[in-house]
Symmetry: C2
Subunit: 464 residues, 2 copies
């Protein structure tokens, strides 16, 4: 946990941004896997963690905007709980550790909310992403669970996004340490394990175990696949063969809940083929050049378009695309190979604050969302400010289903050489990803132990 | 997946047990961790798996009792899904693989249910354990989510328990293989890693990774703690010291969802102390002797009481307890040291069918539940039948909070030597657990590679 001052300050900063009323932050409950008492690993709600820091289930925090008071509500444990789950600090002790004076049990929360609503005070809450929360809000506030989403407070969303978007020194330190102490080792281990005959799940299991051995876990389900062209591929049942590409998108979550998010693509057997090298170098150039462009004042959408242009230019050089780079990108033809956005904000969530709405997080400054295939999926488009942390993760994918569909539709035939694509139908996909902090001077890549990403460095790690 | 015949037969068997109407089995959806698109590892509902075998989210199976027809409802995927998640069999193809003829999308499910309810047919469903399911049932059937639990069909619960309680040869093979191929290695690896200076989380992370490397995962959150006296302890932050006991309760879940559940307690540094040996031998005797008593026709409650007597007799020998064994057990004094039940059924859930109600699963044959501390927690009391699989897991724990409370209350002073307990306040706890199949001839321990459990074998593995 950070120092209690950190949490008090965050709550004070929220109070300054809000006009009136009281903001209720629902902590998460245990989530049942296959019966009530067999839960998934507990994951606290990120906004609750940000303002109240406590990593226990069934707590509710309140920031009273008008009265300059903070509360945490929850039930203390009894002897039976101690036998089954061990001793715990009391609720009072937990509150002190994060600088909160007032506390009460969950019954007191109900009374608190009902009496404040009766007095005509405005209640603010964030949009729920678990059904359990919808039911909890229905029971507490009386809004039917199906209506809860649209009663979320836009003022609160915007204020929380404003604060959480700018990472402070403690948060950055937490991410840097997790990168160096855990995520680095996950990727280097995966590279060394990627030999012919090994199953993907043996590697993904081992590196997920590594993420847990540091007291955290993975920040998101690991993607580790010889079918890197499937963007969110969670199947790990393939046996590796020499000559295949293996895409590894994996990052540890720190003990305090902060994400890291790294992708590397490596050759099984230790040597890239000529064809693989050609595509790899394009993606690497896009990644490195785009990171170089990160600095305050630049729109991330423009850097995304820069990546699209580098990829298009590279594919034209190889004869896979054709025509004019600017025209191809403006038409959206590159999205056949690069269908996703360059990156997303990262912090207490790997897609930071995605539960609050991508439009508030990635576009909040008035940047307009496109509806073009590829561009529509940009999670982050806004103007960069010091303290933003986001991923840079360009990729080139050869997706048979997409290629065949567009080919049949004769889509972008002025920009795509479909006949050449026959040679790439089994290629798979390449993505390279790092996490980048915007600084006042420009940027800094998160982590101080670079994870190999040039062809030379990767080949040296796998087959010295 | 098992052969399609297996699933057809199971559905046919259910049909024979039920009187009329139609039974709806809700498969699970993805469960959000910290925002909608960041899910926990997908876990299918166990009863859905049992009857319909498909391990995909958002499916609903229907067994029509009267019409001899089975259905699976779900939505097929589109091109966008293929890009993000890869190709999948169609719903039709999925249905064929488990012997189901009729299928439809989720809209068709709504129409199916509404028209059958309108025709006055009886709908059966199992009690939900996720809030999402409660909302789904409210929307589909019109029962308010808060009322859903009590509208669950007791006839369906009893029929499902009857079938799932008896494991067939395929299920037993799946558990045996997972035990030998994964769980065995998890425990032997943990034993070898348990050295002074290592953190609990390094071991638990590694063995959880091992469970995943076989295509499954853990069947339940790992308990791996030097504070073994805390029964469901999920904290893994302690650094091991020589002389401590380390309790490891961990089991892999098979790729098809079947659990294994093993506990070993080992000495950090490789050698048990004299005090540890004395307690260990009592627990081991209770475990081994109780397994010997397992055979058809015996009530598991009686075997639990046998464990209680062995533990009490052992503790009397050591001067920790006193008086008459039978009287002490009948009063419940042993529950200070052995507060939980001897075991629980195991199958597609580690506590098999706990979502359907412990009373149906563990007491279904009319065996009465006790309200005595310790006995009240028996998950399994019923008469044993061939095909039952359950755990045998006696333990002795020295729980400071419980000792101090009872001591202050002067509880059972005729049976407990509280002054002697001062020497055991830092002892921790010992539990030893194996999984046992009831056979017509008696019993068989699941797995064919015994995991070390005698003092000699454990010491030899850790410090050869």
């Amino acid at each position: 946990m950070f120092n209690q001052k950190v949490y008090s300050n965050r709550r004070q900063n929220l109070r300054k941004l809000m006009k009136s009323g009281f903001a209720v932050f629902f902590g998460n409950s245990e989530a049942s896997m296959n019966y009530p008492a067999n839960p998934y690993r507990f994951r606290q709600d990120s906004s609750f963690l940000y303002f109240f820091g406590l990593n226990y289930p069934d707590l509710v925090g309140v920031i009273d905007i008008d009265n300059n008071t903070d509360y945490i509500f929850g039930n203390d444990i009894d002897l039976d709980d101690i036998i089954w789950m061990g001793n715990q600090p009391t609720l009072k002790e937990k509150c002190v550790s994060v600088g909160v004076d007032k506390s009460g049990n969950l019954k007191a929360l109900t009374e608190f909310v009902k009496s404040n609503l009766k007095n005509g005070r405005k209640i603010h809450f964030l949009p729920p992403y678990r059904s359990q929360r919808r039911i909890q809000i229905e029971e507490l506030i009386g809004i039917p669970h199906s209506q809860v989403q649209k009663h979320a407070s836009i003022e609160l969303i915007e204020s929380v996004v404003k604060l959480r978007a700018i990472k402070d020194e403690y948060e950055i330190k937490e991410m840097e340490e997790t990168m160096d102490n855990v995520t680095y080792h996950m990727h280097v281990s995966a590279m060394k394990m990627a030999k012919e005959g090994v199953y993907e799940r043996e590697i993904s299991g081992f590196i997920e175990g590594l993420s847990m051995s540091n007291g955290g876990t993975v920040a998101y389900p690991i993607i580790l696949s010889v079918n890197g062209e499937i963007l969110h591929n969670h199947y790990h049942g393939n046996k590796l063969k020499n000559g295949q590409l293996l895409l590894i998108d994996a990052g540890a979550e720190s003990p305090l809940g902060y994400a890291t998010d790294i992708t590397r693509t490596i050759p099984v057997g230790g040597r890239f083929s000529q064809q693989q090298k050609e595509i790899y170098e394009i993606v690497l150039k896009a990644e490195v050049d785009c990171i170089e462009k990160i600095k305050p004042g630049v729109h991330y959408k423009d850097i995304h378009l820069e990546a699209a242009k580098i990829i298009t230019a590279g594919l034209i050089d190889l004869g896979i695309m054709k025509g004019n780079v600017e025209e191809a990108v403006s038409a959206g033809a590159h999205a056949m190979f690069f269908p996703h956005g360059l990156g997303h904000m990262m912090g207490l969530d790997v897609h930071d604050m995605e539960d609050l709405g991508e439009n508030y997080v990635g576009y909040g400054d008035g940047t307009q969302r496109s509806d073009q295939f590829g561009l529509a999926y940009l999670r982050m488009a806004r103007k960069l400010e010091p303290g933003h942390v986001m991923t840079s993760e360009p990729g080139i994918y050869f997706i048979p289903a997409l290629i065949n569909t567009w080919k049949n539709e004769k889509k972008f035939i002025d920009f795509i050489n479909y006949n050449v694509l026959d040679n790439y139908m089994n290629f798979g996909g390449i993505r390279i990803e790092d996490d980048v902090l915007v600084t006042s001077a420009g940027h800094k890549i998160i982590g101080n132990k670079p994870i190999p990403k040039t062809i030379e460095d990767i080949e040296k790690i796998i087959l010295p």
